[in-house]
């Protein structure tokens, strides 16, 4: 885990991502990975959307790691990444994959299991 975290660090820094805060009330930390391929508008949009969402719903208990597959193509295999951008929820288990630019906030929340599908339906 630590090895993997170090690998994309230069990318992460550049994009000012890696947040790692703990909230004592909820020990569950969301370990998220965002896979991108270069700085395409879609990737930038996805990152912005993800960060905004995490700040809103997971303040202080999330970690985002950005992996640029152009720089680390071998990592595409590791999480079986086909679509770009993809967010992988490594923790908590089970593993979840959310693809797309994350513009559909409701679906992202469902995907991260921060909200159940029925809640969304009810809200609508």
């Amino acid at each position: 885990m630590s090895k993997k975290a170090t690998l994309p660090s230069p990318v992460a820094k550049k994009k000012k991502v890696s947040k790692n805060e703990r909230v004592s009330t909820d020990p569950e930390i969301f370990d998220l990975r965002l896979y991108v391929a270069g700085q395409t508008p879609k990737s930038l949009r996805a990152f912005a959307n993800l960060k905004k969402l995490c700040e809103e719903h997971l303040h202080g208990r999330y970690r985002i790691e950005v992996i640029d597959l152009i720089k680390n193509p071998k990592l595409a295999r590791e999480d079986a990444i086909l679509a770009i951008p993809t967010v992988v929820r490594k923790l908590p288990l089970p593993l979840r994959k959310i693809i797309g630019d994350l513009s559909d906030t409701d679906r992202v929340l469902v995907g991260l299991q921060l909200r159940s599908a029925t809640e969304i339906k009810g809200a609508k």
């Binding site: 193509p73 595409a76 086909l82 679509a83 770009i84 089970p94 593993l95 959310i98 559909d104």
Partner: protein
Amino acid sequence: MKQKHRTVSRELAKCPTGIKGLDEITSGGLPLGRPTLVTGGAGCGKTVMGMEFLVRGILDYNEPAAFIAFEEGTKELVENFKSLGFDLENMVAQNKLILDHIEINRAEIIETGEFDLEGLFIRLGGIVDSIGAKRVVLDTLETLFSGFGNEFIVRAELQRLFAWLKQKGLTAIITAERGKEGSLTRHGIEEYVSDCVIVLDNRMQEQISTRRLRVLKYRGSSHGSNEYPFLIDEDGISVLPVTSLGLNYSISTERVPTGIAGLDAMFEGKGYFKGSSVLVSGTAGTGKSSMASSFVNGLCHKGTKCLFVAMEESYDQIIRNMRSIGMDLNKCVEKGSLQFYTARPTVFGLEMHLAMMHKLIIKYKPEVVIVDPISSFLTGGMGQDIKSMLTRLIDFCKSRLITTLFTDLTSAANISLERTQEGISSLIDTWILLRDVELNGERNRLINVLKSRGMSHSNQVREFRITSSGIELSDVYIGQGIVLTGSARVQQEARDRVESLTREQEIKSKQRELEGNRKSTQAQITALEAQLAALSDQEKVLQSQETARREAENLAKERLTSSRISKDVQLVSPNKRKRTGAKK
């Protein structure tokens, strides 16, 4: 090696697949550096075709390859292809092959807006570049459609993928499931892969399935447009194109003895042509198998390699039966000159049989192939298929100068014996007809040569007998304007013998009689001659007696006269005496 197929000619550059027969149909292989779509229903052999394309590329052309599986895991692939004799693990270890399983699990994917498949491209690119792959298989790409909900994005990305493959110069096979209602693929991806489309098909006919292959489209190249049967066995795929063999094989004037002395005599005393096709047809029990076995027996003992394809009898049964007529085929098998292939025609389709024969012929390189009987194929397929199959078999054998002998059971209901149910008579060079003739409460076998291309042959009908020492031919009785066979012939011959014997004796006694006559006449002549001699003797005696008598008479007369003169002299004057003296 690599440069071998990169032709500079104006024709489309092709990448040979190395799959038996497929390169012939596509006149050289798949389009080089372009994707080819292989489509077909479940179990048609798409994955096998893709994998063999790669493996042949590695083994025969030394081209590294990548297999991207969207359905099967790499372990499963390795296991599955072991049965085809492909050692994938070894190739992977040698860095010649990469197997990659891309799993798409829709359950764990949630789509939230726009995306692309750059991840897939990067992954593919990484794989291809890592070993410098020239050949790629994507099996089955259409799973992407089920993995991602947004079909528009997938379509756009596929289009990009094919462009990417082309740009990379990869010769790729993309497999796809056949869609419903005759559409080529379930998701219509054929519109993106437009250079070459191969359709595989697995059809059931009379409970026997046959795999078929068709090149639906091949842009910029001529290709065989027929449906070609193919099969998958432990050596991989073999496509069997009928048209791949032309009528341009060289022929031989060498002769092969028939194994039966009397039959050889019917073919100028030499036998069949080497590399010709021989048909022995007849109704049940006319001795077709025995005829075929005699042929084999004669050759195998001399060391000629033969392949005996038996469709109705087991190996042991043939050995036992032929032993009863004085042929020890087992010895030939032990010696290695005779190879048996026995299978019920219904075990698998005609194509499989043909392919098995092809393989055995290639493996054992026999000089003679026997198929006993071809009529049993009728139970395993349709008439037209049999003809096409036998045509290919004959062509294949002829091109290798292999003599083929087929036996054909003519059903009794079939009015015309001079016709085969398989309709192959025109393919046959030498046709021997066996018949049963019932006469005087017995059946006798007759043999005649219906045709024999390129040699003079006997036009006679002969009788043949299957004896404990093999097949023997004998002349039929053709005296007195009738044809007789069997015991009738024997009787007639005996009758003839008696007749001739009697005649002979008659002549002899007549001769004796004449001789006697001649002799007695001779004796008579001798007797008469003796008589004649006696008569002439008597005559001589008579004559000499007469002469003697006359002389004596004359003498007496003379004496008388002289005495009278002397008396006169005494009585007459001296004047008279002078006169008389003057007279003296």
